[in-house]
């Protein structure tokens, strides 16, 4: 086994992709310096600043330049340092990247990856802590990946880079420096649109994304001590969503809890709940319960932020409600 971190795995996976395919280039603010979370560490040294290019603080132009480069045959991986800043590039992403293939009748391709990171818990305040993936999930033409561990980064980032559609990869700043052991032989790429069952169980299905996967596994451990057998599923990609794996589980357990760190209202949990209630209506023994953050901006104050963040306790409450 190799001891590593999520952030180091991002850098290593990018390096492997750049080695394997000279069309892969990296743009972003401070990427040639390794970035604030070291996710591009070593790339400029290894591949030169012609392919690992620092940009000004111009999110719209960064994203737009990546679209143009992708349309011209490169496979750019661009970084928007915080998902909170994606609003600055949203027109480019939605009206440019996501629609070009469709509007051109299939002529243009935009094989770009936009890497960014979200999540609270680091005392970043309301503009550096958000989870905005549900916006991206609402845009036809974009694929959305949320790796929950170094293993998933290694499995999914290569597939995102190889994809001919624009893919947004939302990483987690909370998980970046979590230690993890990966097999010596590495992790083989896995296709987008496949969920992963992390724990099998009979009594309730918990679907969780990103950091909440770990909270769900902890909740499942505690539930097991109470004799409740929870199945934990990480969808890994929100678009395309592997409904089949989730539905197959719900058919067996009859109960579903969906957990994410984004606000509950308008979050991706609502989409998963809507799909599951339609697919498994007659199998559900209880309402689908959603766990998410309260409907407020992320507070800065440590006590308030800790209270704001959903975690194991909220998942346990939700499971109790689903089993009630």
């Amino acid at each position: 086994m190799v001891r590593t971190t999520y952030a180091a795995t991002v850098a290593a996976t990018l390096a492997a992709a750049m080695r394997a395919d000279e069309r892969v280039v990296v743009f972003g603010e401070d990427v040639a310096l390794g970035g604030p979370y070291l996710t591009t560490k070593g790339l400029a040294e290894a591949f030169g600043t012609a392919r690992v290019v620092n940009t000004p603080i111009s999110e719209a132009a960064i994203c737009g330049a990546a679209i143009g480069a992708a349309q011209s045959g490169l496979r750019p991986v661009v970084e928007i340092m915080f998902v909170d800043f994606i609003g600055l590039a949203l027109d480019q992403l939605v009206n440019g990247a996501a629609k070009a293939h469709f509007m051109s009748g299939g002529q243009l391709r935009v094989p770009m990856v936009l890497r960014t990171q979200g999540g609270a818990g680091q005392r970043g305040g309301a503009q550096h802590s958000q989870s905005l993936e549900s916006w991206l999930v609402h845009v036809p033409g974009l694929k959305v990946v949320m790796p929950s561990s170094a293993r998933e980064v290694a499995a999914l980032l290569p597939s995102a880079i190889a994809d001919d559609s624009p893919v947004v990869v939302v990483e987690s700043k909370t998980l970046y420096f979590r230690h993890e052991d990966l097999p010596d032989e590495g992790v083989a790429p896995e296709p987008l649109g496949t969920a992963r069952v992390l724990r099998q169980g009979r009594d309730v299905t918990i679907v969780a994304t990103s950091r909440m996967v770990h909270e769900a596994l902890e909740a499942a451990r505690q539930l097991a001590m109470r004799g409740i057998d929870a199945e934990v599923i990480d969808p890994r990609t929100l678009v395309p969503l592997d409904l089949a794996t989730i539905a197959a589980s719900v058919v067996r357990t009859g109960r579903l809890v969906v957990a994410h760190e984004a606000v509950c209202h308008g979050g991706v949990g609502a989409e998963i709940a809507a799909q599951v209630q339609a697919a498994c209506f007659y199998d559900l023994d209880a309402p689908v319960v959603r766990v998410g953050a309260p409907f407020t901006p992320v507070p800065l104050s440590p006590m308030l932020e800790d209270a704001y963040l959903p975690g194991t306790a909220e998942i346990l409450d939700a499971v109790d409600a689903a089993l009630d």
């Binding site: 280039v25 012609a50 392919r51 290019v53 940009t55 000004p56 111009s58 719209a60 132009a61 960064i62 994203c63 737009g64 330049a65 990546a66 679209i67 143009g68 480069a69 992708a70 349309q71 011209s72 045959g73 490169l74 750019p76 027109d91 480019q92 009206n95 440019g96 629609k99 070009a100 293939h101 469709f102 509007m103 051109s104 009748g105 299939g106 002529q107 243009l108 391709r109 935009v110 094989p111 036809p140 033409g141 694929k143 994809d163 001919d164 559609s165």
Partner: protein
């Protein structure tokens, strides 16, 4: 005609009769096409939002006819002229505007989203300024490939007020990529006269702080546009960085077909009619001995015939298949 593009590059030299003739042909094809579009739109044969460039043909002709198929053009919402001058087939362009399966985008894009990759026409956009950074990225790609193929992006004076303009020009300058920003300063941002949306009279003035070489030319003089763009193209091809070429022109039509135009000043429109680029080239052609009046009339007639053939072609094309949305939302 399209096949002649690129071969007509003159590198800033003087025009010969062959090039002058091609410029007139190109402008007449655009003019005849757009004049025919107006009734087609009013009868809903062409639907959607349709933005005309009547009066601005010299810019499209002077720029695009010097570019080969491997030199990419990004356009804006007023794209028909750029597309035709870049070599997009007129029948397929009209079929696109009529939402037909033989359209260059299979009927999915329409007037605001014309794309023809085979001719290096990478597309119009409906968001003002939205394509500016795409061109920077495409030019980055051409430099990385090592071929230094120049990328051209058209924008208007309205787009210069969008933040993306400054971001894109700055990035192009920083990266020193072979992109040419061609501004069609036509006096209006959508429905707003220039005086009401900026105090900057010359968009070229905005380039200097970014260390981008810029020039302003009479955009209704196709000979001048052709000369100026030829110089810029040669420099950009030689890796001398990005350029901005501002062409002063006038949008004689409304923002879109059906625009009541209450914001326009009649006397301005009148004075610009005398500066119409086609009339000027016809007069110049006679003086220079490039072509006589009969030849010019024949060029107009041929253009109008081509438009009628395009109407027949597009009208005969079926509507696209309903499976396309599922097939083309993601690339396979």
């Amino acid at each position: 005609m399209a096949g002649e593009n690129g071969a007509l590059r003159q590198g800033g030299g003087t025009l010969d009769a062959n090039v002058a003739r091609h410029l007139l042909v190109t402008m007449w094809r655009i003019r005849a096409f757009e004049e025919r579009l107006e009734p087609l739109k009013r009868s809903s044969t062409v639907h959607g939002l349709t933005h005309l460039s009547i009066g601005q043909e010299a810019v499209a002709a002077g720029v695009c006819t010097q570019l080969g198929n491997d030199e990419i053009v990004y356009s804006n919402h007023r794209a028909h002229g750029h597309a035709l001058a870049k070599g997009v087939d007129m029948g397929r362009l009209l079929a696109e505007l009529m939402g037909r399966a033989d359209g260059c985008c299979r009927g999915l894009g329409g007037s605001m989203h014309v794309v023809d990759v085979a001719h290096g026409f990478f597309g119009a956009t409906g968001v003002v300024g939205g394509n500016l950074p795409f061109a920077v990225g495409a030019a980055f790609a051409s430099r990385l490939r090592g071929d230094s193929a120049v990328v051209v992006v058209f924008f208007g004076d309205g787009a210069a007020q969008a933040g993306i303009f400054a971001e894109s020009v700055n990035l192009a300058s920083l990266w020193q990529v072979p992109v040419v920003f061609v501004c069609e300063n036509n006096g209006f941002a959508e429905f707003t006269p220039r005086s009401a949306h900026t105090r900057v009279e010359r968009v070229s003035d905005l380039a200097a702080p970014f260390h981008v070489t810029a020039a302003t030319v009479d955009g209704n003089d196709v000979v001048e546009v052709h000369r100026a763009f030829g110089e810029v193209l040669a420099s950009a091809s030689a890796g001398k960085g990005p350029f901005l070429l501002e062409c002063l022109t006038h949008r004689r039509s409304g923002h879109y077909v059906g625009d009541p135009g209450g914001y326009r000043v009649a006397s301005d429109d009148e004075s610009w009619r005398d500066k119409d680029p086609i009339g000027r080239l016809v007069r110049r052609g006679a003086t220079e001995g490039w072509f006589g009046e009969d030849a010019a009339r024949a060029i107009e007639a041929a253009a109008r015939d081509e438009v009628e053939a395009a109407v027949a072609f597009a009208s005969a094309s079926p509507f696209p298949d309903l499976t396309l949305p599922a097939d083309l939302t993601y690339a396979r």
